[in-house]
Symmetry: D2
Subunit: 345 residues, 4 copies
């Protein structure tokens, strides 16, 4: 059994880590921290977990954490994470960071969209933790920048097309729709029940900070600069993210060409399910799981490719992917602790 700690365990991503790790056959959750709830039993904050999780939240202390745990998940706000991670690494812990602080290779891009970076040198050694494209790097890494939810849902369907001259890389438009849990547990009028429940809206149109994250990864895959247009929307549901991607086809390709490209790219990947031609994904089908389902349609009239992906934003879009990264780093089966059967409804 490997020993793991969750730093920032009482936000939604942290609590979802706790949930997944509580059922992990090869990992033992030994320590959880929370600034706001230090001293309280976890099941007082999340009564759902009474009888399942028997830990108290403590205040973060780098020595205690690194002495107790082999793997540390940091589920902290941007900027807070970069203040905590270097100390953990120095003490020998392996770290999977769920913030944006270690996702970028180029500190200039990070600083343009976020803030000054306090440990830019770590960006070189950090690995972008999208296992379907970075498996070998993750195996050897001590620091993972765990991908954002929108980037995960966008890069996975696009990755197979970044090098094959199947699509025009300057025509990519990404229209995403997310459930409200992506906004976290912090109170805000934008996630107040009555402001969300019977409405639908876009936000941060062409201005969301996940845009440069997608672009950096897609550019690396393409071997050239890729600029995209990205619009996120808020769906009145708790979990789930659907991303619709539009790109001009470079030629007159058939459904089979597109389908084969997706299937062959993901043939050994346990968490990507490529749907049969003509089937459309539904966030309901991946709820609570680490799956990313991908479907597509060719609009023959306009000769455009439409890719559609769905994930659970808290699982494959955050905590499930983080555990997948830990599994890979620890030499465990990639699916350990992540193979629960999806719910029918």
């Amino acid at each position: 059994m490997i020993k793991v700690a969750v730093i920032g365990a009482t936000g939604y991503a942290g609590a979802e880590l706790v949930r997944i790790l509580a059922g992990h056959p090869e990992a033992s959750l030994v320590l959880i921290t929370s600034r706001q709830y230090a001293g309280k039993p976890f099941d007082e904050i999340y009564p759902a977990m009474a009888g399942v999780v028997d830990l108290k939240c403590i205040l973060f202390d780098a020595d205690t954490v690194s002495e107790t745990a082999d793997f540390v998940f940091t589920a902290l706000p941007h900027k807070v994470a970069m203040g905590v991670v270097p100390g953990l690494l120095e003490r020998g812990a392996k770290v999977i960071d769920l913030s944006a602080d270690f996702r970028f290779k180029d500190p200039a891009i990070y600083e343009q969209w976020y803030q000054p970076h306090e440990s830019p040198s770590l960006l070189e050694t950090a690995t972008y933790g999208l296992p379907e494209i970075n498996l070998e790097l993750i195996q050897k890494s001590s620091l993972i920048g765990n991908p954002g939810c929108y980037p995960t849902s966008t890069i996975l369907p696009l990755a197979p097309f970044m090098k094959e001259n199947l699509i025009d890389l300057d025509s990519i438009i990404v229209d995403s729709k997310s459930g409200a849990s992506g906004a976290g547990r912090s109170l805000s009028l934008t996630t107040h029940f009555c402001e969300v429940h019977e409405g639908f809206r876009a936000y941060k149109v062409a201005a969301h900070r996940h845009t440069p994250e997608m672009e950096e990864v897609l550019s690396n895959l393409a071997g050239r600069n890729v600029t995209i247009t990205f619009t996120p929307h808020l769906v009145p549901m708790s979990r789930g993210m659907l991303t619709t991607i539009y790109a001009d086809l470079s030629g007159d390709f058939s459904d089979d060409v597109v389908h084969d490209q997706l299937v062959s790219y993901y043939k050994d990947k346990p968490f990507v399910r490529v749907l049969a031609s003509g089937r459309v994904p539904d966030t309901l089908h991946v709820r609570g799981t680490n799956y990313c389902d991908i479907g597509f349609q060719i609009d023959k009239r306009a000769n455009r490719l439409i890719l559609i992906s769905v994930i659970d934003n808290l699982v494959k879009g955050a905590s499930g992917q983080a555990v997948q990264n830990m599994n890979i780093m620890a030499g465990l089966p990639e699916t350990a602790g992540l193979s629960a059967c999806p719910f029918p409804v």
Copy 2:
């Protein structure tokens, strides 16, 4: 007071017509029909309207209807409508048809996407009932093809840009999201509560029959052929539609240019609200009203225009627009019966 009838009053669009007409200061609802519920009081089918609507559903009969009512709304399935409308027109009624049967100028397009048309000659005299672009034609018309919900939400934001060389007309992508009432009251697994409530999905991707309707109208506005890519999605809410439209800008235009174009195009239109730059529309803000709110954002990095519109699919997307058409045909104020204040939540 003008006298009006609703044919097919017990579907959602029909019932919404009944609701609006019940509060109309210049129109009197005198007759409603329903095949399924003939003989039953309307408030037995819609108990919400007890004490407000005191009519019984009867079976449709062209003579009775045309003798009783000056204006007839036909809220019937496609194909059924075209069997009923000609008889009403012959008997002197003015007809506003909410099906697709009289929305197209070109019968070939209709027949390609729907079925053989039984009264193609009527297509010449029918007017596409989008008052913001066809006001004068509607004033003189006896037969209105009331627009579909997706076309209304798509054409209104795009119309101001179809002639001005501001956007590349070959680059238009329309990504729409609709509440479940758009699918009507007929039972289907796709609108069964548990299949919708906590999921989000696309459907009829690049294959929805509202596509040619949008294209015909946009082509007429542009004076050239316009082909678009259109993807509808189902939102787990009852009412509301948000449409996100992407188009490449033809030059390096500022926010002001786009905003001015929208404002000047709609300056006298009571139901279009152009939002200030940087504000995003929300379906919650138009729920139960005949408004179409339009916002926009320029993605300067990709030089694309993003237009976003919201409507209530049952009001501006169907029955409210139908009443707006009636008002115009009857010489009433365009807003008569349609000026209820929106709900805060």
Copy 3:
């Protein structure tokens, strides 16, 4: 036209007052206040109302308010209201207060459940504004304590049975279910979207402050002391309240006896709809309206009466009822501004 002001216009009850008054044929909304949003246009806080409500929020000042308006609605938190109302009354305004501060006759009960009362003498002159039972008092009153939402939904179905020896007055159990808008617009984890959306819970079980309000009114109606058990629950929806009431029958009464009692009690009341035997009310049927629908069932096996009522908690449960009170005080038709047709869905 009478002139009205809304004090505390940006909470949900205040905004709902603004909505209703914006469409009122005999009242003109001339002034709105907000501490938090003073100086801002109302439609910046509620963009839904752009083009409909053209007022700026100002800071409260008793002189300005009473010079400008004939009727003042105070939609303020408990305790804050009692600091504001006396000054308005002194300056000659008629006041309808939506807080609990003027709902009780007995200051001791208020102080036991709330806090010390600063103007206990006003409790004598204030009228409990439930028009269906206090019509004549309201007509002559200058200060209305507008009822709480739970009390409205509980007292209306019970009132016809408080004097007739039909039920055992010591056996009354009230099980209520409310949408989230009842908790207002203030941020709280208990109304954070993801904490509400897919769950259902009770709260303040047998400890809610609406309990003594119900008991005082019911006791007055009965002419004896009435103690009830009351449990509120939170429904994952925005608007609507359903109350299920249980009481032992005093004899072997038929459905007709119960139905007749309800119908005769409410025969001239425009906003109470008594359903036919065997029909059950649904909050969907009263959404956005000032109706209270009442149904019942006799459990013959246990000889218990089950009464079920539904209201929209923001309308009949708050702002609609407040306007109904204003209409009565001003000698207007009771239904003025409140007769919008309910939505089919």
Copy 4:
């Protein structure tokens, strides 16, 4: 590994059985049947389960089923079940039936509320499968009548009080609230999305067929006849059931007496969580799990006990409980396959 079959696998209860069994460490799902979808792969009907469940639906045949499986779950409509179960038992299978057909001891009660019973003699040998009260009988049984969802949520909180003279057994009132999945996958206007989503209603008031099931079990526990009043309501959510129970206390008991009684009654029961005094259960906390959480409040003013329970109607209310029964019958740990950690949201 024991071999199991699910008869009627494509309804919600059947599909939930498939989900749970797919993750069961000691059971292997070897056969599923469906009349409607015979010949189709299960993941075509439930795409969520692609890659997880690799079975085709077949038509039911008693010989095939009993030769293939040791344990058979019948998830069929009432009446259909009783035509199938006897043949399975004769062929040596152990059967857990999720319909009402084998829940009653007294065929007269079944026939009064349902229909004539074709195998009344089996009612003697069948065991009511509520493990918390019938553990030893279940261990020895070959036929389980798996409890209804409402009875499970009602009997569990009441059982500890049926013999101790703590409550007046003639005063029990049960007010239940259920998510829509309890109504199953069959299409109906009552579970059409727009008819449910923003409304709340009661149904089958004092007339639901789960009433006699509760009464028979409670009467057996009490050793005397118990009649209750039962009102079910429909909550606009997919999964979850909350039951609020009212009963007059027989004396002046403290919180500790009630709490101790609950805790001691359920001290060895892995799926019942008794909450600390003052805490209220939430369906969100048991979603997707086999837990029943129980809380309570004493209304000291009226001297009534209020018990509140929550379950997931598809798990502890149906399929999870069925698997719990199988575990007990097969001598497996009671929690096998049922110990997934609850979701935080």
